[in-house]
Amino acid sequence: MTLDGFDLGVGILFPLAPDETARRHMLAAISPVWDGNETWLVIAASILFGAFPLVYATLLSAFYLPLIVMLAALILRGVAFEFRYKSGRLRILWDIGFAGGSIVAGFVQGTAVGALVEGLAIQNGQYVGGAMGWLSPFALLLAASGFASATHCSAPAG
């Protein structure tokens, strides 16, 4: 989240841009780094899988729905990043995809950190919290503060 915050923040602030020139400046600012930032996510997952399979299994069980939603959001975000320049009338669709994907990804990362800080329901080494065990007021609060820090990080770019 720390690494990805800058370009997620740009995505969250994206709908506030006054015109197309500003939007292009915002995208140009993150274009050299945004895909690299997301590579860290892949590396983190691979390290967990290889080195800490128990953590990997517990995290995927606890955050199955939000993580898949985040993956979908990141896919949409990455595709929108390239497609918006190739489309004419439907550019607004890709802009929504880019901003929406950033917001959802930031939200999931924030709530996941919140749920981890709060602690997961684990019995005998297995997660028992259910599909929505990650959702709590504290996690939502942390997601909101994550938004604030992400947009703060990227404010100069916007």
């Binding site: 292009r24 895909d35 199955y64 898949i68 320049y85 489309s87 297995q126």
Partner: protein
């Protein structure tokens, strides 16, 4: 190594351990069929037509068809994937893990159905628009790109070369005298004439 070992067929495997046969059967044949159609003799004979001066025919063979046949490679990839994944059933990890025993306490049917719908929706959106985009590029045919500063493109992002893209705007194209005048097709290899 032995020359007379028994080839174990599906009928020697217990019924409970057999995969559903229909999906791999048809998926495999579609995959092979698509590839065979792609490499069919009439397409392979195009260089001979070029040699005999029938450029127009050669151009049609190479350029006329990709505008409708470009999804074939993707279809072959998918059906090959179906063959491998369904053919491996009923194992998630062969000999180790059954699909119905893994993580059953967490991955309930509603959860899995939800994520399936999510993936289907996202992929439908992306591949629909991607196919329309590729189709339009192929219909338009190759066009001369304005010269661009190589430093302004990103090799990790092939789409950045096909025109405007984040950080690669027409404002950063080189001035005219440095123009290579390369006739470049945005999609590269397949359509190289017309």
């Amino acid at each position: 190594m032995s020359l007379d070992s028994r080839e174990v067929g599906l009928n020697r495997i217990p019924v409970a351990d057999r995969p559903p046969v229909q999906i791999p059967f048809f998926a495999f044949r579609i995959m092979v069929g698509v590839r065979s159609a792609d490499a069919s003799p009439w397409r392979g004979s195009a260089p001979a037509w070029v040699a005999s001066g029938r450029l127009r025919t050669a151009a049609l063979v190479f350029c006329g068809r990709p505008s409708v046949s470009f999804p074939l490679g993707f279809i072959a990839t998918l059906t090959g994937w179906f063959t491998a994944e369904v053919g491996r059933q009923p194992w998630t990890v062969f000999g180790q893990l059954r699909p119905w025993t893994q993580q059953r306490r967490f991955w309930t049917t509603p959860q899995v159905a939800t994520t399936l719908v999510i993936f289907a929706a996202v992929y439908a959106l992306i591949f629909l628009f991607g196919a329309v985009y590729i189709y339009r590029l192929l219909r338009r045919g190759p066009t001369a790109l304005p010269p661009y500063a190589k430093a302004a493109t990103n090799p990790k992002r092939p789409l950045s070369i096909a025109g405007d893209s984040p950080g690669v705007s027409s404002a950063r194209y080189l001035p005219e005298p440095e123009n290579d005048h390369l006739l470049t097709c945005a999609l590269g290899s397949r359509c190289c004439c017309m």
